[in-house]
Amino acid sequence: MEDLLRKLANEFLQRPDAECFIGYEEGPNGSVRPAFIRRPEDIHRLVWNQKCYPNLTAYLPDFPKQKRVIGITVKGCDARALRELIRAHQVERHSVYVVGLPCTGLKTPGEDRIAERCFGCVFPEAFQYDAALGPMKTPDGLARTEYETLDNLSNKERREFWKLEFEKCIRCDACRKICYACFCPECILDSTQPRWLSRRQNLGEKLFFHSVRALHLVGRCIGCGECERACPAGVRLMLLNRYLQKQLEDLFGYRGAGILEDAPPLLTFLRDDPDPFTGGFE
């Protein structure tokens, strides 16, 4: 499979309009990291295995928008990200050459079992690619695998849970930096006019930070789990993202970013949406 990957990358780099091919390469201590291949002689560095965690589409908005084409490998989740980036005018479809990866689920680092981030994955197959590393097929059971949720926690337990989680948070912004969906030139959380968020390390400010992040990801989170992987403190951010995505599906039938070509759920409406606000106080 990797041979095919290198062959495709090589072919792509021969194109006169090729800028760069983004894939994965071996990093230190058996890790895998993003590789930016510009010369055909470097294609041997490319790998594809169950440790290819990063969502490479996050790098696309950083490339200056120009006529040149970028090659990129995408897993199913990344393909959804790509579709969302195209919808949000951050990437133009004709300026990317997409190689689909037949993902069967990533492995937990250092262990031989499927990573929890892949549990419940409804869309492991890449799509809308220009070439693929083989037929896409849904691995059995992944979508049905139960993952941890907040559902069984009481209000008080949830409060306690998040208090402990956010006490760990050191406000390093890694979750924000790694997310494919964060592409504003300047984040609202860094704004000084107004200064929505101070640098104080208190619970209120941390709640604000993570709430704003979660809300900005409503309908745009693809569940890739990169935020949680990037967090040095191990804050369980995916619990929040997954919780909200579940609500979107239940309330508005929205299955998730990039799955269909529908509008993100907060940017559209139905006249007969549920209305919990009509009556008196419940």
Binding site: P185, C187, S191, P194, L267
Partner: protein
């Protein structure tokens, strides 16, 4: 514009505020707020004395923000803004604080708490005022010319009205002839007039007018621009014609539904529509035998739910004429509800009954059945009153079908960015109060393209749309909203959230040679609701006068009470 210097004027409103709020304490408190350089109280700030005091103090203390704490901005804001403007202070550097409707009047029994609340409301106002910036309401020129799409009764009436006011009019008509559906009818209601007696003078007036240009057999290919200057491309038999106009009236009309297959129309000889009957009458046919009308053919059904509005009146009219022309004929109208609303139609209904037309009610779940081989012979119907099926001999069956929009409505809706409903009727700006306008400024709607109308209504709507279009053209310009949205390009990522939620298509993400993927607000279209601002992830687009910074500073001062975190 230098350092912020705020003046606060607190109104007693007689005893309406002063009777419940300790104005003295409020004044003391306000004086201590940051950036406040002048405070005073007035018995009535809205009185001539109060207004002159505002003007004097602006000059005397070099104030560059003014706050009045008094009643509601909904009634008095314009007055105080004008006062500021009169001494050269931009009207948008004024901020209103409501301490009457929202304070003294609703806390009459708690003077202390009301006083504290007034203080806080003023503090909120001061924080917002500190972030106010001068704004200018722009204006845009309006060309004194109108494009009217459709040369039927309503389009022509609009054209004549506008031409008589001295405006240039371009009429684009799809067919080779002016007059629309009315010109194909025999007699019109109300008033027993032959259709051509109404249509011909109207068409002749249009043809003679030096202000009106007519494009027959033509269609509008492209429309760009907005109120003031729409650029129009028309495809005519002589080739492409380009021109520009200040306003556009959509009057594309409607046509009769041809009910192929319904009640054996097109299968049995002698099954017609009302229009086919009228044309038969127009040709002068005089002898009729047993005629059965079936109303609501193709209307008020699950897939075409609407009532055709004027079809009942049409059937009443034609039924009576048949009885008058051919007294030996028998005419029966099968109906569901007789929509003879108002004075004239109800009168016509009575006249038809007096003339011997039989009206029989049928139920939609037991519709009439048209019977015949090759040629219609009878109609079987369940008679709701007698509760039994009856058989009506029929030499002719006339189906009363509703009007449906003319083709091309969807295409026009796309070009003009105005909405249509599920039947392709155009959707006006407001069903009740803005029946001939679209939400888009400068584009108007008249006649059956909006919903079925009779001739009188079509004409009235045409003239009404002309009046609407004439207003900005008479003024020569439109003054635009000042508190509209504006994008800061350096912050904009071009994600398009703003574009998606704008109800007026005023925001678009532009990608051209100069602008690389940035949102852009069209000041002419923006109505200043702020929906875009709320969905912009990083605040790159802001609603002027209601910016994030202005509102956030109010929230913050409310949270921290002393406001020290802000300054």
């Amino acid at each position: 514009m230098g350092k912020v210097r705020i003046g606060v004027f607190i109104c007693h409103c007689g005893s309406n505020i002063g009777g419940f709020i300790n104005i003295h304490n409020v004044l003391e408190y306000t004086r201590g707020l940051p950036l406040v350089k002048h405070t005073e109280d007035n018995l009535y700030t809205c009185s001539d004395g109060g207004l002159s005091s505002i003007k004097e103090k602006i000059t005397e203390h070099n104030l560059n923000r003014v706050i009045v704490a008094a009643c509601t901005p909904r009634t008095h804001e314009a007055l105080f803004r004008r006062a500021c403007e009169e001494v050269g202070l931009n009207r948008y550097l004024f901020e209103f604080v409501n301490i009457r409707e929202h304070c003294s009047w609703i806390h009459m029994n708690e003077p202390e708490a009301a006083t504290e609340k007034a203080m806080e409301l003023i503090r909120l106002g001061v924080m917002k005022a500190a972030h106010l910036v001068p704004l200018e309401a722009a204006s845009t020129q309006v060309k004194p010319a109108t494009l009217i799409i459709g040369g039927g009764a309503s389009g022509l009436s609009a054209a004549v009205n506008l031409a008589n006011q001295g405006f240039d009019v371009h009429i684009v008509e799809q067919t080779g002839k002016l007059g629309g559906l009315a010109s194909r009818l025999w007699k019109l209601m109300p008033g027993d007039r032959l259709a051509h007696e109404f249509v011909e003078p109207l068409v002749n007036t249009v043809k003679k007018s030096k202000h009106i240009k007519i494009y027959l057999n033509s269609i509008v290919k492209e429309i760009s621009g907005f109120i003031g200057e729409f650029n129009i491309e028309v495809k005519t038999p002589q080739g492409k014609k380009d021109f520009s106009v200040g306003t556009v009236i959509v009057a594309t009309g409607a046509r009769e539904l041809t009910p192929i297959g319904l009640y054996h129309h097109g299968e049995l000889q002698g099954v017609l529509t009302q229009l086919e009957l009228e044309q038969m009458l127009k040709r002068g046919r005089k002898r009729f035998r047993n005629i059965v009308f079936i109303n609501c053919a193709g209307a008020r059904t699950p897939d075409r739910e609407y009532c055709g509005r004027l079809c009942c009146a049409t059937s009443i009219k034609n039924a009576r004429y048949l009885r008058e022309i051919s007294p030996s004929s028998s005419v029966t109208v099968l109906q569901r509800d007789v929509m003879a609303f108002g004075t004239e139609f109800e009168l016509e209904y009575r006249r038809a009954q007096d003339a011997g037309v039989r009206f029989i009610r049928y139920e939609p779940d037991r519709p009439p059945e048209v019977i015949g081989e090759k040629k219609v012979s009878s109609v079987r119907v369940y008679h709701t009153l007698s509760g039994e099926e009856i058989m009506l001999p029929a030499s002719m069956v006339v189906l009363t079908t509703p009007l449906i929009p003319n083709e091309g409505a969807a295409e026009l809706s796309r070009m003009l960015k105005v909405p249509i409903d599920r039947y392709n009727f155009f959707l006006e700006a407001h069903l009740k109060l803005r029946p001939v306008e679209f939400a888009t400024d400068g584009v108007y709607i008249a006649g059956a393209a909006r919903f079925p109308v009779d001739i009188r209504e079509a004409v009235a709507q045409g003239i009404a749309a002309a009046a609407k279009a004439a207003a900005p053209m008479t003024a020569g310009e439109v003054i635009l909203e000042a508190t509209i949205a504006r994008t800061e390009p350096l912050l904009c990522s071009g994600c398009g959230n703003c574009e998606m939620v704008c109800p007026f298509a005023a925001v678009e993400v532009r990608k051209d040679d100069k602008i690389q993927n940035k949102s852009f607000v069209n000041a002419v279209l923006c109505k200043g609701c702020g929906a875009c601002t709320a969905v912009c992830p990083n605040g790159a687009i802001q609603q002027l006068g209601f910016t994030d910074h202005q509102i956030f500073s109010m929230i913050e001062t409310m949270a921290f009470e002393d406001g020290s975190d802000v300054f």
